[in-house]
Amino acid sequence: MPASLKLWHTFPADSPQEALLAEAVREFEAARKGVSVDVTRIPYLQNLQQFINSAQGGEAPDLIRLSDTEVGKIGHISVEGLPLLEDLRPHLTPAQRAHYEPRSLAAMRYGEPLFALPVSQGCLALLYNKSLFDAAGVSYPRSDWTTADLLAAATALTQGEVRGISLPLKWSYWFLPFQWGFGAGPFDEAGNVTLDSPGTDTAVEWFLDLDRIHGVVASGVSLEAMSTQFQLGKAAMVLDGPWAWNRYVEAGLDIGLAVMPTVESTGLRLAPMLSYFGWGVSKQSAHKVEASALARWLTSDTVQKRYALSSNMLPVQESLLEDPEILANPVLAGFLEQTAYGRTVPTNRASAMLFEQLDTALDLSHSGKMATTEALAAADAELEKRLSQ
């Protein structure tokens, strides 16, 4: 069936990822006679709002690349009683669906509907600067490290301008591993908000003490400052994702990768939050059969493998998780090992609104304006209030 598809992506201009996309789209067009695809690059930060605006104006693209967080943000939006994205469940056979790693598929569901097909995953892991470790005579992080080992190493590494570890203390994405590691979590099994749990309290104190008591983290580090610090050799360790690896290597750093340590008191490993990207189809699309076929192709093992090998994007196709070529790559293998310890937050409005409240609690607690317990209780109450509206 002849069709012209509009596709939006957020890969940077002239990036290798953009080139890979163009290649995959050409292959799709060649395989499906009569289908043409119009590829448009949208600035990443504006992607979601642009999609919402265009959808309200009846000009939404057929396909869009978006993260699980973004699915969580737009899942509840309804125009004329319909969601913005197509439920892709009828579009796949169970056999086709089984190719995707189950957690990644679940992350693309908002309640019941499946709003996108997962294409990549990511999470934080412990990166370290080998030369700084060597200079301080500290042995490299190992997978059997506990948080006490982490703190001891960070203390030993904090010398002069160098800090032991670079962490943006006001960003809850960096805090969540600690919350889970201390046996708590933002939500319980039933999805209730549990920010006021005792474990969270301990986790916040431990996390903020890295700056307040131990001084191994520079205070007031923003997201940008975090990677800059590490890149300039002003921090020996950092929690960062696979996306940052090449940047550090290109900057001439000799870096290593380790899974996050275990919390001594709970015996649980620090668990990074898993995040996903996927391809969704617009509810407005006039060519859903072709659009979903393209989404399947763009998330296929062939295409995912290219992205993994060229840009460290961790695959979510079951077959690739065992792929020898992927596992031969130490970065991919290391991060995939870390994903095994990763946790997810449900893809919903609660998670989309979690970060602001948790950020606020971290900020107020760090600045000493509120006691940690008090701040967490208030964050919990506020989030629940927002959700009930």
């Binding site: 009846g58 509840h76 939006i77 009828p90 056979t93 169970p94 205070s219 580090v221 509810k283």
Partner: protein, 495 residues
């Protein structure tokens, strides 16, 4: 998506495709498979016993054309048979597709595959992933525990089905109301101008003959493009418009405004908005004026260089310079490096407020300087020379000659400067995101009204509420501007 009884489907089948009736009814020696109700890209198959007791699972195969061997078809799914104890039954809609056993939801194994209890005699499954509008052939192959098919896989007799249930699309927004509104706005603008023109003619104001014609293009373009969105925004403030139900909004009167006034921190954020705007516009005008005057000194060397450099904050895209400031204000940034400190300027409410204002002053001075420079250059030099000869002091020249002549420039740029500052979104958003936090569920320390409105609209999706905030901002600005213009008499024509 009304489910059609399978009889109808079957009947249309027979008529349209003239298939033999047996095709729809043969799968195994004892088992019967029929195509049941359909939905978009989905056919339901119903399998009714007697079931071969050796059956451990059923493989479902399908193809776009009739097939008799498995290698001509595509594997669709596996339905297991066996003990269901310890397995869960998903709620309706919770699974990716629906399978039922004797009318109840089927159990699922840990991989999400349906498991049919060994006692069951009939089950049905939704087969997703069908091509709509095409005949799909489906074969259900029972296999034993070793995976061996229990029927001849080279003589399969698939059942056929077809789903024509259309895809549900969001209707495109109706653009007719917009067309009518635009037409009405433009026509009223023209009518109003003509009426005013006629009124003038009646009163005999002949000098103004062409005046309405001169202003007409500007007015019509302005009205045509911007009146509809603003009127729409005002209307929105009285509705319950929300992201969760767009295109279905109801009039709710003043409820949104009540909500606005109940927001904790509303007075604080309003006060800071005024402080922010007044501080900004004051320093923009003052510093712009001082710099313009300094650069207006006759015979000063390097004027062009100074002016060009002083223009840079205006020339460089705002978002990069604000990000640059953000970087410079970091604890290990340039400013702390210069002072030899480690201050987190954006962490403390008071300091963050001062800093956002300073950065915005930095951004806005060049525009004012350029405006005043232009105006100063146009002032006649003879006037000042005469004053000089008369022994008028510099200060008096400034107060009595320069400033009155600059008033025509100063009034509009300061007013617009105020309006722009009031609604200036980027500096705060990019520098501090409204932070640091003051408390939960209230605006941050450096939030101004418009950044908070943005959050209400786009983080929480309450469009109606955000529109109510916007209307209040609008009213504040209208009130302020009206007073300001009356005080300065700027709308008067030249004497």
């Amino acid at each position: 998506m009304a489910p059609r009884p399978f009889i109808t489907v079957l009947a249309s089948w027979l008529l349209v495709l003239s298939l033999c009736a047996t095709a729809a009814q043969a799968a195994g020696p004892n088992m019967a498979v029929v195509v049941g109700e359909e939905s978009y890209r989905t056919l339901r198959i119903e399998v009714t016993g007697p079931i071969d007791p050796r059956t451990d699972a059923w493989e479902v195969w399908f193809a776009n054309r009739e097939f008799s061997r498995l290698d001509e078809a595509e594997f669709h799914s596996l339905v297991r048979r066996g003990d269901t104890s310890g397995l869960t039954r998903p709620a309706v809609g919770a699974a990716y597709d629906e399978c039922r056993v004797d009318g109840d939801m089927a159990h699922r194994d840990e991989q999400g595959r349906p498991v049919i209890s060994s006692q069951a005699t009939r089950w049905s499954c939704d087969l997703t992933g069908m091509t709509p509008g095409q005949v799909q052939w489906i074969a259900v192959v029972p296999v034993d525990a070793a995976g061996t098919p229990l029927l001849d896989v080279n003589a399969l007799q698939p059942v056929a089905g077809r789903t024509d249930v259309p895809d549900v699309r969001t209707p495109p927004p109706d653009s007719r109301p917009v067309t009518y509104a635009l037409g009405a706005i433009v026509l009223s603008a023209i009518a109003l101008l003509s009426f005013l023109r006629w009124q003038d003619a009646k009163r005999g104001r002949t000098r103004a003959r062409l005046a309405h014609l001169y202003v007409a293009p500007g007015i019509i373009a302005l009205a045509g493009l911007t009146f509809y969105p603003i009127l729409y925004g005002i209307w929105l403030a009285f509705t319950d418009a929300d992201q969760s139900h767009l295109g279905d909004t109801a009039f709710i009167g003043l409820q949104n405004f009540v909500e606005v006034f109940k927001t904790p921190g509303i007075w604080r954020v309003t006060a800071f908005t005024f402080i922010w705007s007044i501080a900004n516009v004051t320093f923009h005008v003052l510093l712009g004026l001082v710099l313009a005057l300094a650069l207006n000194r006759p015979g000063l060397k390097g004027k062009t260089v100074y002016r060009t450099i002083l223009l840079l904050p205006w020339a460089i895209p705002g978002y990069i310079s604000v990000l640059a400031w953000n970087g410079m204000l970091q604890p290990d940034g340039l400013i702390n490096g210069m002072l030899g400190t480690q201050i987190d300027f954006l962490a403390d409410a008071g300091r963050a407020r001062v800093v956002v204002i300073l950065v915005n002053i930095w951004l806005g001075v060049p525009f004012m300087m350029a405006s005043f420079s232009g105006a100063l250059q146009a002032l006649g030099k003879d006037m000042f020379e005469a004053a000089e000869v008369d022994g008028v002091s510099r200060w008096d020249q400034l107060i009595h000659l320069t400033l009155p002549n600059l008033k025509a420039t100063m009034v509009p740029v300061s007013l617009l400067g105020f309006i722009w500052s009031f609604n200036a979104f980027n500096t705060i958003y990019l520098l501090s995101r409204g932070g640091p936090y003051v408390g939960f569920g209230e605006p941050g320390a450096t939030d101004i009204l418009v950044t908070y409105v943005f959050e209400v609209a786009f983080t929480y999706g309450h469009y109606g509420l955000a529109a109510a905030w916007s209307v209040l901002i609008f009213l504040m600005l209208v009130g302020f501007s009206w007073t300001y213009l009356r005080q300065t008499r700027a709308t008067e024509a030249a004497a």
